[in-house]
Symmetry: C2
Subunit: 336 residues, 2 copies
């Protein structure tokens, strides 16, 4: 088992990525190929690491603010490109990047291609709820979706929730604006029918307030809504803490409460940060690509490497591709 | 000034609606027509009220779970229908309802019609942020939008933010998944161009995490996203409080912090509940319709009546219609 790690990706790379790789090699017994500026990576490594850590030089880096399309065209020797190429050539079983998310997705999709039978890729993230965590898909890979794409995200979510969260027969919900099948927009109303016709354990529409109460194991939505939802989640917790502080400032006891409360907030923020769950896989492609947050700690990198190894062991892309083909056949035969 | 109030709308109607009307008449010096079951309304009124409170009988009520389409077809004498008819006939200057939101929107749109030049109605809600409140439009009236609709929502939001929040030249943001004009889906990318070509103070895309930090005065989005965002806001605060409690339960000081914290939570929830701001207007129609939450208190009803009176005094529908026509001309002349 060997994972290619974009060693230059993330705010504190390559220090944090090298640290995460060393931890992963020790804890998980996997091999890691550090891809990027060899001099800088070796400087971080020093005398650490053993035969399971190797370095592959890449002369370029895609910046966090760079356009993925431009990076794809111009930076053929970027660390993310070289790392993905290792998966393509079979030298690595998976790739992990905490760099430019758009570039990592676009490069993986372009180089590895969609799995046979899959129309569009989806990014799956694990989110916290008042009860157990759930999988949200798509978190931003495909922003303009057709009903068939959402059906396929349902299958990807089912497979990933089984693997990552250990859920048997996961409950799938469609993010919408009311529980009844008649509620939603054109996209969700058509998707509702397809999901109902499939073998998936589809429980119907779920609303924004239900998902954080832990109503389902998998929330299906298009990549635009999913990304907006994710960032609203981030934003509102910060704003709520801020507003709470103002409310509590009216009384001395309130102020004391806020001081004590602050102890819990970093933990809570971590729970809302998907990197803590080891990053988010881009699903539906011919290979394994795990995307981590740019602010990933070395622990988050190690977790992402663990998820990548797990996905490779479970042959996630093939399981998903098989599931998608079967499900598309199901709903097509119902329709005809 | 006379406002028609759907006295049967809301979880605790007609007790709460009658109480809210009495308060509004006293505090605001307006007239209120209570529309609904005359016997029940008079029982609540007793000897209270003066010449400024009147009652108009309506024999039917649309339930909270009823389909708006079915209600429109079958319940011609529902309290919401009769109340909207009073606006149509000129007997009332505006209508307020805390009943079935879908039915209130559909009835107002059908009976009063869209303003000349307006393509689709939008519902504007005031939301809290870490800084000042902002207007989000559309919160659920038009779930499938074209770019021209979002442009028109921008105008409606501008006019409403000026009136309701007293903002001069309000900053308009387009809800998307990245700040650059190139980020978003097909709808937002086209809408970005139209908004840029208009006279509006358009500051570009805003992300979910920015809006609760108070980045703009008006957030423009389609009604599906807007409704999802609203409900995620509700859900995540409840989940966050729940998760915080679990985190804090690890230590005695943490537990104490949570107990003190709870004092602030009801206030915070109120801030996240748009009824506290007096309900949300359905904009872009030939008349004034203010929608309140089903759980509205009498204070929220009174606030909604105040917003309705304010909108009537400012001739909100005509100001919006004029602004929309002007703006559509602007972007059309740029395009040609």
């Amino acid at each position: 088992m060997k994972i290619a790690l974009d060693a230059m990706g993330g705010d504190a790379a390559p220090a944090v990525t090298v640290r995460g790789a060393l931890d992963a090699v020790d804890a998980l017994g996997i091999g890691v190929v550090l891809v990027g500026d060899e001099t800088r990576i070796r400087a971080e490594l020093g005398t650490q690491g053993d035969g399971r850590i190797s370095v592959r030089h890449a002369s370029e880096v895609v910046g966090m603010e760079e356009s993925p399309a431009v990076a794809l065209r111009r930076k053929k020797d970027s660390s993310i490109r070289v790392a993905v190429n290792l998966v393509k050539s079979g030298e690595a079983d998976a790739v992990v990047s905490a760099g430019n998310t758009g570039a990592a997705m676009a490069t993986s999709f372009l180089v590895l291609g969609a799995s046979e039978g899959v129309d569009r890729p989806g990014i799956a993230t694990v989110m916290p709820s008042a009860q157990d965590p759930f999988v949200l898909i798509d978190a931003g890979a495909t922003v303009d979706c057709k009903p068939m794409h959402l059906l396929q995200f349902g299958v990807m979510g089912e497979v990933y929730a089984s693997m990552a969260l250990g859920r048997a027969n996961p409950k799938i919900g469609l993010l919408s604006i009311g529980e009844e099948a008649s509620k939603g927009n054109e996209l969700t109303k058509e998707s509702f029918k397809l999901l109902s016709d499939s073998h998936l354990n589809f429980v119907g529409n779920v609303e924004g307030k239900d998902i954080f109460a832990g109503a389902v194991d998998v929330v299906v939505c298009d990549g635009f809504i999913g990304n907006v939802a994710l960032k609203i989640g981030e934003g509102i917790v910060e704003a709520a803490v801020h507003m709470l502080r103002r409310e509590l400032a009216h009384s001395l006891l309130g102020k004391l409460g806020y001081v004590l409360l602050k102890a819990g907030v970093p933990e809570l923020k971590k729970k809302l940060d998907y990197s803590e769950y080891g990053g988010a896989p881009l699903l539906g492609i011919n290979g394994i690509c795990i995307i981590s947050h740019g602010r990933s700690s070395s622990k988050a990198i190690r977790n992402a490497l663990a998820v990548a190894a797990d996905a490779a062991r479970n042959n996630l892309p093939e399981t998903i591709a098989r599931g998608v083909r079967k499900t598309v056949r199901e709903v097509t035969s119902v329709a005809s």
